[in-house]
């Protein structure tokens, strides 16, 4: 380390060194402990000469700060690595779970539509009848009123169905006529023993 370099440091800290030289010197100081030592001591000398220290004299705090920063940066790097591993693990598990979920649902749906004997899909509207919902077998839902007893024999069911669906002509009675006939019949029955 030459006196010239130290003199440059002396001028640099006073703001009296040319810009080019200053940048060059700063670059050199990055890798030269001796130069940085001179920088530190000249600043401490300034502090003492200006009698500005009301606090205890600090010496080369910069080295300790940089050491701590490097240590914390290393910790941060380690911390960053750990979550990455965990995230990778959890994301793998999440993907596996979602694939399993999709598989289960799709399997259930396939069962539902591919097994007509067990799960018959009813078309409840005409639109569904024309475009059945994924069903291989479609049965139109029939009116439920013709029989309340599905366990009856087919013949009985047919009879009930026919009687429900056959047109019947309504019969209207003349109540005056019926009443007259009924009263006359009653009178005849009462008069007969008397005649005998």
């Amino acid at each position: 380390m030459s006196d010239k370099s130290n003199q440059n440091i002396s001028e640099l800290m006073d703001g009296e060194l040319s810009s080019d030289c200053s940048r060059f010197l700063l670059k050199r100081m990055q890798s030269d402990d001796e130069l940085r030592g001179s920088w530190n001591n000249y600043h401490m000398l300034r502090t003492c000469l200006q009698k500005e220290q009301s606090a205890p004299l600090l010496q080369n705090l910069g080295a300790r700060v940089v050491e701590q920063l490097n240590r914390s940066n290393a910790d941060v790097v380690v911390d960053e690595k750990q979550p990455k591993g965990l995230i990778k693990l959890f994301s793998g598990m999440a993907i596996a779970a979602s694939v399993a979920l999709v598989a289960v649902f799709s399997f259930n749906n396939m069962n539902q539509f591919e097994a007509p004997s067990n799960n018959v899909v009813f078309a409840k509207t005409s639109k569904q009848l024309i475009n059945p919902p994924n069903a291989t077998v479609v049965r139109v839902e029939q009116p439920v009123g013709y029989s309340r007893y599905p366990s009856l024999t087919p013949q009985v069911q047919q009879y009930i169905y026919d009687s429900n669906t056959n047109l019947t002509i309504p019969v209207y009675y003349n109540t005056d006529y019926v009443n007259n006939v009924f009263i006359q019949n009653q009178l005849k029955i009462k008069q007969l023993p008397a005649d005998e």
């Binding site: 002396s10 940085r36 910069g62």
Partner: protein, 209 residues
Amino acid sequence: MKLTEEDKMSEKTLDAELVAQAKEGKMQSFELLVNRYQQRVANVISKFVKDRHEIQDVAQEVFIKVFRALPNFRGDSSFYTWIYRIAVNTSKNYLVSRSRRIQNSQVEFEEAESFNTNEDHRNLDTPDAVYARGELEQTMSKAIAMLPEDLKAAIILREVDGLSYDEIAEKMECPIGTVRSRIFRARDAIDQALRPLLQDESMRKQNVR
């Protein structure tokens, strides 16, 4: 050769250059910045915190915060003004975290800077610290006293009176190159006298840690 003001790297530009390098991750540049301002920051902290070791711890915390906040420093104010605010806030937070009452809730910038207005803070050191500092000051006083008159005048005009090299050259009626040389030689002589003490102090701190 006389440099114009444009040619020189002013102290503010020097700070900006170091900050820029520190932002790029050059830790040695940040170390230079810390050592440049460590004592002024410690002085600010000492207005709030009395214990010598705590001052050092808080100063360390301040500079760590400064480093982490460097991307936010735009250079609108001077670098020292910026770290001064961080130092004050960190000191207050430190006191709050330790559940201590802040005695000087409002310390003015000038007051924190001024040594003479805070006579009561001068006795905050432990005996060994006072001794170490006293020894440093004594050694330095001796080294200054032993300096040739021209060197002594040059360094005092620069560091105590804060004159520029041009002003010193004018005052001492000599070329500016001579002023450069005299100031450096004075610093170097005092540095040589202080080095053994500083090395002892450094060794002692390492042993304590």
